[in-house]
Symmetry: C2
Subunit: 380 residues, 2 copies
Amino acid sequence: MHFSFFILTVFITINEDIAISSFQFTKKRKAMPHNYYNRENHGDYEIISIGDFTLAEGGVIPNLELAVRKIGELNADKSNAIFVTTWFSGTTKIMEDVYVGKEHALNPEKYCIILVNQIGNGLSTSPWNADESIKGPKFPKVRIEDDVKAQYKLLTEHFGIPYLQLVVGGSMGAQQTFEWTVRYPDYVKRAAPIAGYAKNSEHDFIFTRTLIDTILIDPAFKDGNYDSIDSMKTALSRHADIWNVMGYHPEMYRQEAYKALGFDNADDFSKQFTWKYFEPMDPNTLLTCAWKWQRGDVSRNTNGDLSAALGRVKAKLFSMPIETDMFFKLEDCKSEQELIPNSEWRPIKTIWGHLALFGMDPNYIVQIDKNLNELLAYDL
Amino acid sequence: MHFSFFILTVFITINEDIAISSFQFTKKRKAMPHNYYNRENHGDYEIISIGDFTLAEGGVIPNLELAVRKIGELNADKSNAIFVTTWFSGTTKIMEDVYVGKEHALNPEKYCIILVNQIGNGLSTSPWNADESIKGPKFPKVRIEDDVKAQYKLLTEHFGIPYLQLVVGGSMGAQQTFEWTVRYPDYVKRAAPIAGYAKNSEHDFIFTRTLIDTILIDPAFKDGNYDSIDSMKTALSRHADIWNVMGYHPEMYRQEAYKALGFDNADDFSKQFTWKYFEPMDPNTLLTCAWKWQRGDVSRNTNGDLSAALGRVKAKLFSMPIETDMFFKLEDCKSEQELIPNSEWRPIKTIWGHLALFGMDPNYIVQIDKNLNELLAYDL
């Protein structure tokens, strides 16, 4: 009983269409080598190799495979592509379930929507499924810019897409979105970073450190050579518990909004929802992404000059922080937005905090869609 | 090199008078049985026994000793007493250093200021210094109401004080302050809870759980029978790191306000200040107080009816939450304040978050003093 089950419960409550589409995936079940990172849990995706890939921190991922989900079709001149990134612990599945559909701005009847799982997230090449030479704790350090370079290669060489109508993503997906606009300014017409920074903050770095330490500190971790995911269950529940504190805003608890998801009290919600979400995940996978998250910084493109980096963004950009986010804060997002020439300030109202990204608050996705529809309507 | 050193650094920056008074304590050094919980670190205090003490959760503390600091003198009719409580991890020392003095509202030339260390905080009867029958992990569960009952006994029977002009305290000290106003409404003329709840929130309960788990999860903890404080150093630094995330507001990091305290960057501040503050503390002591903190709830006086509990407060009360507090939130504090008949809403502005309580922001104590002066000026 893992997160998809709970997400499903959520969707049954808030969106019957999505619930039905989620059920359909169970019919496509295939035998997979991992209990969690498989198509039953994470929907349909195509594995596309982009070859050996050299990383910013040094080292090579041999035969880097990206797990890619394409929804909708490219038009004749391939001018209708939208690119969607993923966040920490998430895959393309939740992006598809919450953000994509004919009832959403990300409408596959109009656009070809390409969703790519970030490197090391469990579906694309990751510690558990990598070549023996970089398996498990030997997996190299990956940066946000590595993801974006790999994604650029995929979109230009594999798909032959000339430019993107939109790049959109939340949290670490926002980090990738910002990197896209700075690294490939001519390739991105529009951008919508949701709840994330162009350059990570010191506070967020320390928050992520506390998440990392819940794993490192457990004797069962054995420097990344743990016996099984199950042996790391306690560590993963501790990891999840910090998310319970920082991922949701206290106002969500005060209003007992978790009751709308079918949980009687905060203790039940915190354990049956958040703990169960993280408990089946691979710790090395989480560590790979956490290291990357901590160091997201577009100013690496401009020798540390954030103003210069954001100054070269050409995309029409809507900055969409979540007002109650406990770690990607409004003030920091505003400072960054003010450095981006063609940008607008579009904060999202919700009491849920950062993990409103999951779509539990029906009014959250309404606001996202409204902003994305407006952004996509700009004639650029 | 522990917290007093750093607090000292802070005070040298913001208040020379206090720095000098702190230095004077080093002249009074006595041989003490604990490396941290002693007069060198925590100033002068008197140990007063209030006899065997029966606890709300059952069990007895034999010969409960309270560590009491009295500053100023009682007048003839003992009508000039102010009572000051302590918070999690803190002792009367920081309350004296930051809040008490002739330049403050808590002026010992006018009032007799009595500060009492909460049960289990390391100076009053605590796991490390308790009777062998309840030593270490055998220490019983203590509630906020136990503290307040013990303090009431101390003030009425030992000091013979007929009523208090004011009860004031921050964080767990605010929990005690609220309990005072509900349990002994006729004894408290004025009350000033700073940054705390009358009834703890579900979010705060989980936050405290993450703090507790950093200790419980460490194999060196050995169910509370650790070999030494030093063997728990890693756990205590992890404990401290969660404080780095939740104790200060991200805006403090964004503005790099820690630089005013002499730290070059957040990493340095987080480790040299916050880690060093917690590393010498006794884990069983922290656990005793954390359990108590989680369960603070004045509605235990009224069969769970918070409105009825707060409705019986007779004190003139100023509610003083910290606007940027990450866990004792403004919205929750406002809900509670609105249930208290003779109360006023006095939120404190600072970018520091909860640990502004420590006094690093000079403008924080200015606001506290202004409010307390106004509160004390009410003719009641």
